[in-house]
Amino acid sequence: MAYENPERVMIGLEIHIQLNKLKSKMFCGCSTAYHDAEPNTHTCPVCLGLPGALPVLNKEVVRAAIKVGLALKGEIAEETQFHRKNYFYPDLPRGFQITQYDYPIVSNGKVVIEGEDGEHEVKIWRAHMEDDPGRLVHIGSIAKSKGVMINYNRSGIP
């Protein structure tokens, strides 16, 4: 049965791809292979946001983002910019996420999907690079946990 959409509902999706196949984090040399590691062992002054540490962009992240852009048949920007998204959260060590705003690396892509009533083109408005925060860890459930622990191993994963 073909899907009818009399209300003209439009659904936007924000999809995150963790580039965990890359060897190092987005702005430092820490390893991305943290899944079986002890908490807070894949960290350094940069991904812990220590005062005075500065981010240096991992070239491989840009390369991977371009590949994603090409796969999505998007336009790859000649010039692209990072912005800071400021918000307070305990797992966000700098108090801001480094992300992209008005000059993303990829724009105007598309994905063609096969539906019951034929092909549909899903427009990809944009794709951009950003880093992940750390993770909050609760003992048991959130409601019962006496405290919150933070694991920064994921912090800075592209």
């Binding site: 002054p45 946001g49 220590l50 005062p51 005075g52 540490a53 307070f88 305990p90 108090g95």
Partner: protein, 477 residues
């Protein structure tokens, strides 16, 4: 012999005659008797470090030479308070790039110097640890924000020091304390490990008793560093080669806007006398106009505060530094920031957040960036015609403690001649050029990007032909 007002060459001679340990001990003794509150932390490892150098032999250009470091530049194992309650107990687990370089060169770190909280100020009065006093007059401020670094040199408590300069924070205290201070070209010195106030404006810079020592220090700290994306490959550490006493044919531009309304007549007189002295030494001078100077201050404060509001977001009590207790993480973070930051820091975070907020971003921040481009163009035009610019570093000599505390705007206004340089990213050196009513006056020499050697040669020539750098404040013991 008491360790007092020695040049680096004299310090090295003393080490050869006695030992690095004895020399460091002499400085520590002088610091111990200090009345100026120039240090926040005196290193308990300094003697040990000097002793090790004695045993291992003098290696490196600064083997055994003691240095003072501003308390916003990370030294592994020593507190890095930034003059704030927020970071009073924070001990960095890593060294800043410049500290690595200094240690490689054999320098002994005496301690960490007092500063305006998070480098926000021009008087060192906003420090959580109380103000530093000006060695020339203990009732006056040493300037800021690197007030401690300049004052300890003037008081003979260190032969030289590192500061940071976001809008004049090396040059202002250098001028007020009668020492030499350099703000290098943006990108000449890695900022890795220096706590950020406003990344697009600031540089780490050296302060010393004389121009030669500035060059010595630059040869150690300048040059590219992969950990700072804005560090430039252009900076070549060959600064000492520029120390030639010759300015014949040098073209000096004198920007009339830097001698504007409100300038102290004593400062104006001393700076003009210095320019005339340069003319006698073979230089030429002409007046130049930098029409956007009057907008620089507003642009600077919007940009600096905007960047600060984001940079200081990381101080939330979660991982390190001061923490207030709270029922939820919301209240923990807000109480930590309410109790951990001082009034000036809060003022700048609030104003910066406002300038960046939706609806005001274009009106304030974006506009400030446009003005910044125009200010930069002023420098490109003026420095296209002349080799260097000369102007007063500060429009007035050191003011009295407390005099401007109630009126932050009057404090901001005193930065009028230093902030345009940071907006443009060009290098600028402040050099003692005279006195007014017993207080030192600073001559500011501004140059083209990465032409620090021209500044050093000009300043060195002036210094070789004058005696101001040998004038010392009354014994502060």
């Amino acid at each position: 012999m008491a360790a007092k007002w020695m040049s680096v060459a004299e310090v090295k001679q003393q080490i050869l005659e006695s030992s690095a340990e004895e020399l460091t001990a002499n400085y520590l003794e002088t610091i111990n008797k200090s009345k100026i509150n120039g240090y926040i932390t005196v290193s308990d490892k300094a003697l040990e470090q000097a002793k090790k150098i004695d045993i291992e032999g003098l290696k490196g250009p600064l083997a055994g030479v003691p240095i003072a470091i501003k308390d916003n530049i990370s030294v592994k194992g020593l507190p890095n308070s930034c003059g704030s309650k927020m970071l009073k107990n924070y001990i960095p687990p890593f060294n800043a790039h410049v500290i690595e370089k200094l240690l490689e060169a054999g320098a002994v770190i005496l301690g960490k110097t007092n500063m305006d909280e998070f480098a926000m100020g021009s008087s060192t009065e906003s420090s959580y640890f109380g103000p530093t006093l000006n060695p020339w007059d203990l009732e006056r401020v040493p300037g800021g924000s690197s007030g401690g670094s300049a004052a300890v040199i003037a008081a003979g408590e260190a032969p030289f020091a590192l500061g940071s300069d976001t809008g004049g924070s090396v040059r202002c205290p250098a001028a007020f304390c009668g020492v030499v201070g350099l703000k290098p070209t943006y990108g000449a010195v890695s900022r890795y490990g220096a706590v950020a106030y406003a990344n697009s404006l600031e540089q780490i810079g050296p302060l010393a008793n004389n121009v030669s020592d500035i060059a010595v220090l630059m040869d150690v700290i300048a040059g590219p560093d992969a950990r700072d994306s804005t560090s430039a490959p252009n900076a070549k550490p060959e600064y000492q080669a520029a120390l030639k006493a010759d300015i014949k044919g040098l073209k000096i531009g004198v920007p009339k806007e830097y001698f504007g309304e409100g300038i102290n007549p004593g400062v104006e007189k001393a700076v003009w006398a210095a320019i005339q002295r340069c003319e006698e030494l073979g230089a030429f001078w002409e007046e130049v106009s930098m029409p956007h100077t009057k907008y620089a201050l507003a642009s600077y404060y919007i940009i600096a505060m905007s960047e600060a509001s984001s940079n200081l977001a990381r101080f939330d009590g979660t991982r390190y530094g001061f923490r207030a207790e709270g029922e939820t993480w919301h209240s923990l973070i807000s109480k930590t920031r309410a109790e951990g930051f001082g009034a000036e820091v809060k003022r700048r975070i609030l104003l910066g957040t406002y300038a960046l907020s939706a609806g005001y971003h274009d009106k304030y921040y974006l506009k400030a960036l446009k003005v910044r481009s125009l200010v930069k163009q002023d420098f490109e035009k003026a420095l296209g015609k002349v080799d260097v610019l000369m102007a007063p570093t500060m429009p007035n000599p050191a003011f009295k403690l407390g005099e401007r505390l109630e009126d932050p705007l009057s404090l901001y206004l005193s930065d009028v001649n230093t902030v345009p340089i940071n907006l443009a990213g060009v290098p600028s050196l402040s050099l003692p050029c005279g006195f007014t009513a017993g207080l030192p006056v600073g001559l500011q020499i501004i140059g083209k990007p990465f032409e620090e050697p021209t500044l050093l040669q000009t300043a060195y020539t002036f210094e070789q032909n004058t005696d101001y750098h040998n004038k010392r404040p009354p014994e502060v013991v």
